[in-house]
Symmetry: C2
Subunit: 262 residues, 2 copies
DNA sequence: GTCTCTATTTCGTGG
DNA sequence: CCACGAAGTAGAGAC
């Protein structure tokens, strides 16, 4: 079980003393209370009094959550230094970051609860179906994109940027493959076009160079532009790739994992 | 003061019953405990047992925070439906979203604390120095960009997209202004170049059309490309703009607000 | 440190 | 609802 100290009601003063004095090393602090907030740095923001949840982690990251919305209303990433101190009637939390130079300044006028916890969490976060994983899988199974396609290099660096897959087709034409793990937009088409133009400059007009955009879907505008520029689209099915890579971990058996992919 | 109920130690069962039975309407729930998590949807992830903080808001948003890092390790935005229920030894939290189809499934084997709160927060979040604000300010003060510059239109829609400022200079040449509120990259240069090419096609080769990229800074590659394409860079100072727009709210007087901008 | 690109990006806005 | 671009985007990887 985690070490947790809860300060509420009569004990709040003790909690305030604890978090404002002692360094909160290795501890995660949650404060619930009525506060106002100012942020200055890359932008400037102001938020007047309201009841919110403040989370301060031992690495210096700070989050302020309102009772709605997925995103924190104010925050500071982990490179910050955090000071907690009393000023007049208010408990103040000040998180300053030097690069970029910015600060979050919180004043609390009412505190409902303080939780100081020491959490142990050493598990490794494992992700599947990232763009890198899909790219590497397609690199070793280029026939999924097109029969007879062979991969020459992965993440090939040419001047304008990195080509996901640099391949040749059955007729030995160069094929530039751009992979998107979700809906391809006009930007993706432009990106692919840039690569192809660069290669055409390099190889001259006699070398036939093809461009294939691989994605589970593509926007209408993107597809029009793609066709206009003489390039091609290949749909991939993330579900099928996931099956082929072969995962077996399913804990919640109420629904198949594959129902949720793409 | 906010309405807060804390369940810890002996009371945990009561808390579990509360959050798994009743709809948690208008309430924000925090659970601290040892859990494992699976996510499936746009991607797939697994996280084995560890002590974490789970936050569930009344709008259906879900966040799981590890004791480190600014970002939640797993989450679900506010369009989700959330079910809390017991299965065997575990308390389960299941958040499902339909568009895109995805789910987060959490199993808790030890719970340290449950907090159920009703937070009141109606304050308006106010942001300054957004790209829109900077753009509108420069639109009405184009002389900051260049002496004699006049704004013709803001957010002008031409085929490839929207031009931030469409101006004419002292010599009545068309000037396309692209504004970035931080470091301009090669993409910004390409964007500007696209607009200018479109206008050149429209107005023919005799009309002189200039492009100005306005940003607090620019990357080396971007600047090289800009010069190569015959366009110009103007540095803007966010601090100066903020001063000119004229803000006065400064609560924490220990440091001037302007120290923290840009 | 600078620059570029991805992200379970999220979020807004305009068509 | 789809498409596209901004964000205090954050974070990773290459150079």
């Amino acid at each position: 079980m985690a070490k947790i100290r809860v300060y509420v009601g009569q004990n709040l003063d003790k909690g305030i003393k604890l978090i404002s004095g002692e360094a909160i090393e290795k501890k995660t602090v949650i404060i619930i209370g009525n506060c106002r907030i100012q942020y200055e740095g890359r932008g400037v923001s102001r938020l007047d009094w309201g009841e919110r949840i403040i989370m301060i982690k031992s690495d210096g990251s700070l989050l302020v959550h309102r009772p709605f919305g997925y995103l924190p209303v104010n925050w500071q990433p982990e490179t910050s230094t955090i000071h907690i101190f009393s000023r007049g009637e208010y408990l103040c939390v000040k998180a300053v970051r030097s690069k970029p130079r910015e600060r979050v300044f919180i004043e609390l006028k009412d505190i409902d609860m303080i939780v100081v916890s020491e959490l142990e969490d050493n598990a490794q976060f494992i992700e599947y179906l990232s763009e890198a994983e899909i790219r590497d899988f397609l690199a070793s199974h280029p026939e999924i994109i097109e029969k007879g396609l062979r991969t020459i290099s992965v993440e090939k660096n040419i001047e304008p940027g990195f080509i996901d897959l640099y391949c040749v087709d059955e007729k030995d034409r160069i094929v530039v493959v751009e992979i998107k793990r979700h809906t391809a937009t006009v930007n993706a088409v432009k990106q692919l076009s840039t690569y192809i133009n660069a290669l055409r400059r390099e190889y001259g007009p006699n070398r036939n160079i093809r461009g294939i955009l691989v994605a589970p879907s593509i926007t209408k505008n993107a597809h029009e532009l793609l066709v206009k520029l003489g390039m091609e689209y290949r749909r991939i099915d993330l579900k099928a790739i996931y099956e082929k890579i072969g995962r077996t971990i399913v804990r919640d058996k109420s629904k198949s994992i594959l129902e949720y992919i793409e």
